[in-house]
Amino acid sequence: MTVSDRMSPVNDGELYELHGRALVAFAASLVGPSDAPDVVHDAAMALFESGTLAEAVNPRALMYRAVLAKAKSMQRSIIRRRNRERLFAESVVYNDPEVLPEVVAAVVGLSQQQRACIFLTYWEDMTPAAIGELLGIAEGTVKHHLAVGRDKLRRVLE
C-alpha cells in the first residue's frame, strides 16, 4: 500500500470531512454564508444515498457539481433569492468593509455559474481549465463567465 492509498478517503464520511469546509466556502459564494452549510449537507446526503460517490472517478468534482446543482434548485424561488442576496451582500461587507458595496451588488447579481467561476479563480486559485474539469463545463465557458463578471465590475468601477 502506498502513502497516497493510505491517505485517500475511503468512505463517504471521510470524503465529507476532507472536502466539507471547502465545499461550504464554495456554496457560500453561490447562496451566501447562511444557507451554505445546508446546501452542502443536503447535496452530500443526496450523493451518499445515491451511492454514486462509491463509484466516482473524481468524487471531489462530483461533490462540487452536486453543491452547484443544489444551489441552483434553491434559486427557484424569488422570495428566497431576494432575501438571500440581501443577506449575502451584508455578510460580505461585514467581513471586509473594503469590498465596495457596488462591487458586492454586481457580483451577487451574477448567475451562480458565473459566481462559481469567480470564486474558484480568486479564492481557490484555479485555472479556467481546472474549473472546467471540476464543474463539468468547457474551459471557454469558464473564461466567458469570468469575462462577463469582470466586464460588469468594469462598468461599476469606471
Partner: protein, 298 residues
Amino acid sequence: MIDSKIDEQLKRFSAAVAHASSDPLPLYGASGRQRSKKPVLAFASAFVVVMITVGIGAFAISWIRSSDSTQDSAASTYGINGGIGAYWEWLTTDAVPLEEGLVGVTQSGPEPKFDPSELGEVQRILSHTESPYVGEINFEDDFPLVESEFVPPVAFIGTLEGTSRQLVLYRAVHPPTGDLSLCLDEQNTDSGGISCFGHMDLINDGFSWGVEHDVDPTSGSIIRVIMEMLPRQTAVVVVTSADGRAFVQRPIGGVAAIEFVASDASLPISIEALDENGDVLARDGFYDDSLSKGVSDD
C-alpha cells in the same frame, strides 16, 4: 489600473465569502459506504441522480386538495401517464418559430361566452403577436440544468400586461428514468432576473400550479399564482382570495399567471378553470398559515 482594481475587489469578495462561511454541518446518516478502488467510467451518468426537483414542493407551501374537485374528462386534460408529452404536443401545435430554439405559442382555449370582467379583475397575458419576445435565449446561463437535460425548444407563452415580465415554458428530461418535467420561467426583461418556478410534475389528472409570496420593499407584499397544463377547454381561470377579491385571466397554452397585492386575509385562495360557458372544469386551492401572516419562508 482598472483591471488590477477588479482583481483586487474580486479577491476581497471571494475571501470575504470564504471567511464568512462556517464549518460543515454534522453529517447525519452517512452510509460509510466503501469507495471502489477501481476507476469507473460511468461518471457522467452517475451524477444525474443527485437531485430532481419536485415542482410544487419547491415553493415550500403546504397544500389542501379541494374536496369538491371537478376534474373534467380525459379529453380536456392530459392524463397522468405521459401527460407532459401530450400537453407539449398540444401546446406547440401551430407554434410560430421566433428564433433559434424559441417558438411563440398560439394555442388558447375557447372564447368565453360571458364577460370575464364580471367575475373579477382581468389580468391579461399578451401573446407574442401583441408583445414580442425581447429577452435573449442563452441556454447555458438561463437554463442551467445540471441535474437534468434541457429539451428544446423553449415555448414563449407571452408577456404579463403592464409589466416587463415574460413567461417561457420548457421541458427537461431526467436521464435515470427518462421522465419529463416542465419548468415555467418568468423572465424580467428590465432587471434581467429569471425565476424558474420549479419543475412542476403532474400532480393529478388536472393542472399543476404553485403560489409564491413575494415581499418586496418597493412593491409591497405580492402573491403570485401560476398554473400550467390547464384543461384545453379552459376559457378563463379565476383566482379568488379569502378577502373576497377575484382575478381573472385567459390562459395561453394552458398557462396562467396572476398576481395581486396581499392583505392579511388574502389566504386561503381558490383556483377555478372555467369553460366557455362558465362551468367549472377543475378546481383547487391551498392554505398556508405563515403566508397569510406575511411571513416569508426564508
